[in-house]
Amino acid sequence: MSVFAESQTQETFVVNLGPQHPATHGVLRVKLTMDGEYIDRAEPILGYIHRMHEKNAEVGTWAQFMPNTGRMDYLHALAYNFGYSIAVERAAGIEVPERAEYIRVITCELNRISSHLLWFGAFVLDLGGFTPLLYAFDDREQLLDLLETVTGSRLTYCYYRFGGLYNDIDENFVDGSRAFIKRLRSRMPMYHNLVTKNIILMKRLIDIGPISAEMCRKYGATGPVLRGSGINFDVRKNEPYSVYPELDFDVPVYSECDCMARYMVRMDEIDQSMRIIEQALDKLPDGPIKPEKVPKLIKPPKGDYYAAVEAARGTFSIRLVSDGTNKPYRLKLRSPTFSNLSLYEEASKGMLLADALALMGSLDLVIPEIDR
């Protein structure tokens, strides 16, 4: 029997995508049951870098868990610092000085831009374009240098403290941020000309990988995935925290539900983040960056508390259960990409393998955050 005749049967075969595969951005393994070039079933297999952060939290004090928060979503670590700080501050009733809140917003948004820039480069790389990655890294590098001057590290930040910050920003940082925004503003049209308007990218993204609003709801997808499905939900607007209500920004929403919509949401979010940073820099008040009285040993009263922030990939939330001691009784970390990836099996059914990789890229996966 010839090879061709064999392929006429309805047999499926299994392909392992990952755990070491550039398109899976880390160590995600997807077990694909293929019918020719079409996906019959795509089952993500997780846990390759599971580190049990939640148990780690239970053995240390409240403050000792802070470094761990920067090691889940390594691209938007400050949002995780932010979420954990808010959760503990809410539980223990710690007030944050206004200057600290503004600096938190500025640094968090800078970090969001760096995350989106890396996603932009890596996503286009998944689709076969190598050059934009280098341009995006050029900008991101400047951003990391800037954040390094205040936080002391480049990727796994541990900058926020309960009630404030690790240290204050200086004039160099303010000027540097303004210069960076000016530079990135001038480069955004270049990105759009080079990538967004490119016919190959449009053909690869438009009408590919539909995720309906209903599917998002059933799976609990958040962030750019949800906003690319036409639902206007952003924790910064809907459940305002910190000083976001005092800043004027829009939430980009696209209702096409395809990969292009999710791409556009993220590109527009870079613009909006720049707006937020500019306003926050203008409004930056003087004052302390730590409250006058920070309790040395934090012992939140008994009960459970919930805090959510908008990370670059969606809603990151923390559920704390305190038993009144200096250690967390239970700490649940709800990572956005865990939910976003769970819809992959349903969304990728019947897709071409190459398109399914575009869909995976558009979900913006960060594996350490899924596995925790």
Partner: protein
């Protein structure tokens, strides 16, 4: 508006469970009280003796959620259906191990993205036989969250399509988030 509707429906659900099982409730409270009376810590005994009401309107600014509802374990699916009907989305499913009370708590976080509100549903199950029905038929997104909870706590979600380890190694037979777990 949907929060008010959900509150009404969940209140009815909670009330139904309490009417249904008056003898069992009574027995439970009796068995709970006897060891507490013997316990030396008066303050703790007092707190535990008055269990929190099953439906609490929480202060969002302080707690981070709007409504906190404790339902019977067999009602979690009904509660999920109520929230599904009001277009809530599932945020997370997780557990808490209350080792002192010999109980496990399963916590469901729901969020309304259209008209923002957060609702928490809890159910307490005995620690020796941690079983409750799955809600993955109502919310397919709960599938992974329930698998993760099974990994970490050993809670069995009855009717779940596949409870094999998700984050832990595939041959893992331990549940690390249990308070008596030692590596």
């Amino acid at each position: 508006m949907s929060l008010a509707k959900v509150r009404e429906a969940l209140a009815a659900l909670v009330a139904a469970s309490q009417e249904e099982l008056p003898p069992e409730e009574a027995i439970e409270s009796v068995t709970e009280e006897t060891p507490e009376a013997a316990a030396p810590e008066g303050e703790q005994a007092e707190e535990a003796a008055a269990p929190p009401p099953p439906l609490v309107d929480t202060n969002h600014a302080k707690k981070g959620f709007h409504l906190d509802v404790t339902v019977a374990p067999d009602q979690v699916v009904q509660a999920a259906e109520i929230l599904d009907g009001e277009k809530y989305t599932i945020e997370a499913v997780t557990g808490v191990d209350w080792i002192k009370e010999e109980q496990m708590e399963v916590v469901y976080d729901y969020c309304d993205t259209a008209d923002f509100s957060r609702v928490v549903i809890r159910a307490r199950i005995p620690r020796a036989t941690p079983e409750l029905p799955t809600i993955s038929r109502v919310f397919p997104g709960a599938d992974w969250h329930e698998r993760e909870t099974h990994d970490f706590f050993g809670i069995t979600f009855v009717g779940h399509p596949d409870l094999s380890p998700l984050l832990l190694p595939e041959d893992a037979d331990y549940h690390p988030l249990l308070k008596d777990f030692t590596a």
